[in-house]
């Protein structure tokens, strides 16, 4: 998919719960957003953070006019990015990398599993799957009800099962313990903290179905040029930015 440098302006900057920021960006030239696939990411130049490198941020959603991101204030740059408000400008490079599989036979049952800000790529993926007639459900875990407020954006799309660590909303426990995961599925797609993704991969393996996970190794270029973000795979060191960020777990050395 062709990559672009895009000058964008923030149209919506809305905080959910304890800190996740939903950003809706449009191009300053008013043109349509280029084609982007779910699970791909963009590099964002966070000029105000006074950091050198751009930051890879997952694509939450793409519409004809808008690119939507979800940002969690974790490091210097993401904290600064979470202060951007309507009217602010952001330079974006993307779309980058390879996303989740979307070509499934109609009627295929896909289980989407997200943890924390890892919910980000699952929204666009869910929309894409549903519009292709694929059956999908989401199981989403976070620490507290407040942290899980981002789920409001998913209302009306497909069954979304919330899990919280403290039991303040939905199921009290881990995503892999949620009763919804006991059903029959043909494919599992995951984004979240690595220990959670590994547990989800084990769950998929126990069901005998394939799993895809989205990795977030530290990156510099995002283009497959610097070779900094490598993951040790069965094919040797592969770039998360170019060969991923989404990988089938059969390629990874996780077990």
């Amino acid at each position: 998919m062709k990559k672009y440098e895009l000058e964008t302006v923030v149209r919506v900057s809305e905080r959910y719960g304890s800190g996740l920021l939903h950003l809706v960006l449009e191009r300053t030239d008013g043109k349509d957003m280029p084609e982007m696939a779910p699970g791909q990411f963009v590099e964002v130049a966070v000029d105000r953070a006074k950091v050198l490198l751009n930051r890879p941020i997952s694509i939450f959603n793409r519409t004809d006019k808008a690119l939507e991101l979800l940002v969690s204030p974790i490091g210097t740059a993401t904290k600064a990015l979470c202060e951007y408000v309507t009217g602010d400008r952001l330079r974006i490079i993307g779309p980058l990398g390879h996303g989740f599989s979307t070509q499934f036979a109609a009627g295929t049952r896909v289980l989407l599993m997200g943890g924390g800000v890892g919910i980000a790529p699952l929204y666009y993926q869910l929309r894409t799957l549903l519009s292709a007639g694929v059956k999908a459900e989401v199981v989403y875990g976070n620490r507290t009800a407040q942290d899980a407020e981002i789920c409001a954006l998913f209302s009306g799309l497909a069954p979304l099962h919330v899990c919280t660590d403290d039991g303040t909303a939905g199921f009290h426990g881990l995503v892999t313990q949620h009763p919804a995961t006991e059903g029959a599925f043909d494919f599992v797609q995951v984004c979240g903290p690595k220990p959670m993704m590994k547990a989800c991969a084990r769950l998929a393996a126990a069901k005998g179905v394939p799993a895809e996970v989205s990795l977030e190794n530290q990156m510099a270029c995002g283009l497959g040029a610097c070779l900094c973000c490598v993951e040790d795979s069965k094919d040797g060191n592969v770039c998360v930015c170019k060969n991923g960020p989404v990988f089938n777990t059969s390629l990874l050395k996780w077990q």
Binding site: E5, A45, N217, Q218, A220, G224, A225, V230
Partner: protein, 304 residues
Amino acid sequence: MAIDLTTHIGNLTLQNPVLTASGTFGYGLEYADFIDLDRLGGFVVKGTTLEPRQGNPYPRMAETPSGMLNAVGLQNAGVEHFIEETYPLLRDCKAEVIVNVSGAKIDDYVAVAERLQERTGIRAIELNISCPNVKQGGMAFGTTCAGAESVVSAVRKAWKGHLMVKLSPNVTSITDIALAAEAAGADSLSLINTLMGMAIDIETQRPKLSTVTGGLSGPAVKPVAVRMVWQVASKVSIPVVGLGGIATAADAIEFLLAGARAIQIGTYNFVDPSVSVKVVEGIEDYCRRHGVEKVEDLCGALKI
């Protein structure tokens, strides 16, 4: 006023003085969505070794103030893969495609150069005697005059094309190494490679890189690089190619004034994938504003 950007580096003629640095630009193709590669003076492709290399374990990168540390460790698919798979895609590029040649032993450097000579139309190689991220070879050759002399003279015997030698800043006297490389037959010198550095995660109390130390690049190193280019250019008679932290045309012009005949852009390609073309345009604009008809007139024009 038409500005002549033509740049001569020994027997090599470039359409302008802007190259991109090895390890920061892949094989050029990674950037083809952002820039027209034909507009560059040239690009130096990823360090190429005789055998494929997996490089160092992750994590390989740590951002630092105005810079970054890397410890990639020359991951590449080997010279055969380059010749068979990559070179055909670059053959018709108008920009000069320069291959960065790396190795652990002198014989490896020579073997890579010989294969490139026999089976490609590559006209210039950049001999990497300055990689700080591999245990054997690399910087070991670039930190002593005898080491530099031995590998440069061995490759010189085998390689008929343009021989650029990339120098390490991690030495007591870079001019001594530069003179040794010149005496051994180098056609030009490129400098600087990365500065050895280190960063620590104080929460885990562990190094941020798997290899503990790595190579520092980015705007943070630019003043060191300009100083070294100036020192080397005033000592040697072969052309010098300057690199280290260039992010703008203004940075590039500093290097030219200090005595560089051409420049390479490295880390900033990660920040702005079209920076190289912007620097070409910026240099042309500077020449126009300063009434400089030929960019080569800027080379070493520093007034002291």
